[in-house]
């Protein structure tokens, strides 16, 4: 099947091309939907075929060289794809979830006049994302990396007539670009040190070249981490993601929850061989994850906008993945990525359905009571929330997150702070998730429902809900079933986690206690927002400052604005007319001044000229006298 590998990214790309080129021809919506969804669907089917092929035969296409992109001197960049189990998981999520979201979009975007444009962008995105995860060389990956950035920009600013959407899009692009700069510099360094940018070559060459913990791999890994941090909206570059919610909900689901933002996770997981050589850098991955999951969780607690809660929760969950990567729990990170893609896409899509039903109302405090009015959406949303909050035993999210929490306790590379962060994070997650559920679906109805979602919306929701419930069972902990179907996939591609000695016995204690903590969190949310809403108000009133601080995302925006954006803008505005030009203008003015000065001596008065002659004579004679005594 490997001969068809190249079709997977190409099909959506062709779809995008068709839609762009026929952009003016006003294709009927049906045709657009067929092209848009069909291309991604075909890619998804191909993926599943390859997956089945792999699962049955255990064989996987290594890579296929398609064409030479460019080669100069010793730098040679082929356009080549590489598929292993890691990329396979990503490809599966991208194509499959992508397909579901495409289907959902048909109905969601039905009334939008730029229907074709939307699908063109979406297809382009899927193609670029597939390129990112399938790329054999880091430059090709960079192509996908920037390509998804472009699509993210275009889709956040999709409703461009609203000026602030454009600004949000631009912010997203620029901030991720800052991360990309670090990534690019990392590539330069890798090339300078190893002379190749082929991922597999790097992974084989690196251990031969460098000793563990030497400066070069650490620097490179930190630079790559910079790229990952930008793309995955981690601390300190997390500020763009909440604003990115300006895009349509399917976009948030696909790009800003399921796929693109996890590109950083992919990058680090892909370069695992390097990070193994650079434990210090890996520690930083964990630190970034831990900090992010806490600050984003706190911010999520205070949001009013339904989609912003989800955005912060996405940041927080990706923080978990980073934490997992940081402690060497590679496969757990990927596992959590997959499960997260399912439930977060589900949540965004369901939220989109809610928002659409309520005339684009985003404020949760103006919703309520939707439980009865939109039962299907409620059910799926609840399942997604349960998974997000890691409701013990029955939700997929429990299994993936629990694994991370357990390993943050047990892993050799972890420490107590990581563990605490993970546990506290889990507790916060439970609270804000169910705060959201209760505010939206319980209580009295505050806004009337105008539009009931149709089949094309509910069916993807149901499929995702099923996955969000049951996908977790492919990987069960030792204490409960002990299934390792998922982590077995990575036996060759990702290094296993090393546990501290004699910790296995604690596993059930930790699982039980975090499970309980989650339940307590849910109960608290129920108490505050359903039974005694006054208490929530009181807490809100008494901690108004903290609330505002968290609400504004820990004021990172203001900070960056003040220390980076404002000075540069100030300089650009003040210097609009270019001070260097002033130097030349000064030169011109000087000559003009001299000219004016000398022309004043040319005053037309005869006697003045004679005076000049006399003065000249005096001066010359004086000089002569002085020189020749």
């Amino acid at each position: 099947m490997k001969d068809f590998l190249w079709l997977i990214p190409t099909l959506p790309f062709l779809g995008a091309c068709i839609l762009i080129i026929s952009g003016n021809a006003n294709l009927p919506r049906r045709a657009v939907s067929i092209v848009g969804c069909g291309s991604v669907g075909a890619a998804a089917i191909l993926t599943i075929v390859i997956m089945i092929d792999f699962l049955t035969t255990g064989q996987i296409p290594e890579y296929t060289v398609i064409v030479n992109w460019f080669s100069v001197d010793n730098l040679s960049v082929p356009i080549a794809l590489h598929l292993d189990t890691l990329s396979l998981v990503f490809v599966f999520v991208i194509t499959f979830v992508g397909f579901l979201i495409h289907v959902y979009s048909i109905e969601f975007m039905h009334h939008d006049e730029s229907f074709a444009r939307f699908f063109a962008y979406l297809n382009l995105f899927v193609s670029a994302m597939l390129m990112l995860v399938l790329a054999d060389s880091l430059i090709l990956m960079y192509l996908g990396w920037e390509g998804v950035g472009l699509c993210s920009y275009l889709l956040i600013g999709f409703w461009y007539e609203e000026e602030k959407n454009g600004y949000a899009a631009r912010k997203a692009f620029i901030i991720t670009r800052i991360g990309d700069t670090a990534l690019a510099v990392g590539l330069f360094m890798l090339f300078a040190e190893l002379g190749t940018l082929r991922i597999q070559d790097i992974l084989t060459l690196a251990p031969q070249q460098w000793a563990t913990g030497s400066t070069t791999p650490v620097t490179i890994c930190l630079l790559l981490l910079g790229g990952a941090v930008g793309k995955s909206a981690q601390f300190p570059l997390q500020t763009w993601l909440p604003d990115a919610m300006a895009g349509p909900s399917p976009v948030s689901a696909l790009i800003h929850a399921a796929t693109m933002v996890t590109a950083g996770v992919y990058l680090i997981a892909r370069m695992n061989g390097l990070y193994v050589l650079a434990p210090q850098a890996q520690l930083w991955v964990g630190i970034v994850g831990a900090i992010t999951l806490l600050i984003a969780g706190c911010s999520a607690l205070t949001q009013y906008d339904l989609k912003r809660v989800l955005a912060y929760s996405t940041i927080s969950q990706i923080g978990y993945m980073f934490l997992a990567l940081g402690i060497g729990a590679w496969s757990s990170a990927v596992f959590h990525f997959m499960i997260h893609a399912f439930f977060k896409a589900l949540l965004f899509l369901a939220a989109g359905a809610v928002i659409m039903a309520l005339h684009h109302e985003h404020d949760m405090f103006k919703m309520g009571g939707l439980r009865k009015q939109m039962p299907a959406v409620f059910a799926t949303f609840l399942i997604g929330s349960a998974s997000l909050a890691a409701l013990p035993l029955i939700s997929a999210g429990f299994y993936s997150k629990d694994q991370i929490i357990w390993l943050s306790f047990a892993s050799q590379q972890s420490n107590i702070w990581f563990f605490l962060a993970a546990v506290v994070g889990a507790f916060i997650t439970a609270i804000y998730t169910f705060r959201m559920v209760f505010l939206t679906f319980y209580g009295e109805a505050k806004t009337s429902v105008s539009h009931m979602p149709g089949n094309l919306i509910t069916q993807p929701l149901v499929i995702l809900a099923v996955l969000a419930l049951f996908a977790g069972f492919i990987e069960l902990p030792h204490t409960f079933g002990h299934v390792t179907l998922f982590s077995d996939l990575f036996s060759t591609t990702l290094p296993p986690v090393t546990l501290r000695p004699n910790v296995e016995s604690h596993e059930w204690i930790i699982q039980t206690s975090t499970g309980l903590l989650t339940l307590v969190g849910i109960a608290m949310a129920y108490y505050f927002y359903v039974i005694q809403p006054k208490i929530a108000d009181d807490i809100h009133a008494s901690t108004i400052e903290t609330h505002r601080f968290w609400y504004a995302g820990w004021r990172f925006d203001s900070l960056y604005d003040a220390i980076i954006v404002k000075p540069i803008l100030f300089f650009a505005r003040v210097n609009k007319h270019d001070f260097i030009d002033k130097l030349y203008s000064a030169l011109v003015e000087l000559s003009e001044m001299m000219s004016a000065l000398f022309s004043r001596s040319q005053n037309g008065i005869l006697r003045w000229y004679i005076m000049g002659i006399v003065a000249g004579a005096v001066i010359i004679i004086t000089f002569t006298l002085i020189i020749t005594p």
């Binding site: 004043r600 005869l606 006697r607």
Partner: protein, 102 residues
Amino acid sequence: MNAAIADQALMLAGILFVLGLISVLIRRNIIFMLISVEIMLNAAGLAFIAAGARWGQPDGQVMFVFILTMAAAEVSVGLALILQIYHQLKTLDSDAADKMHG
């Protein structure tokens, strides 16, 4: 007759020249300026004569003749110019003729 006279005559030439020069510089009337130029030319001639006498050569006097010729020509042209200026500007003020200022 001795050498001292030649030196003193040169000094006299210098004094007369400077007097003429001062006059050129301080008078605004063009005719006065012309007269002053004559004084200066004359002083120059005197210097030549003194030098000629000093060395006992005729060249000094030859030069004086040339200067004389030049002075005559200059005066005639100069006076014609003065007439024109007076007709054009209705004044003899040399400062009025400053059309060439920069």
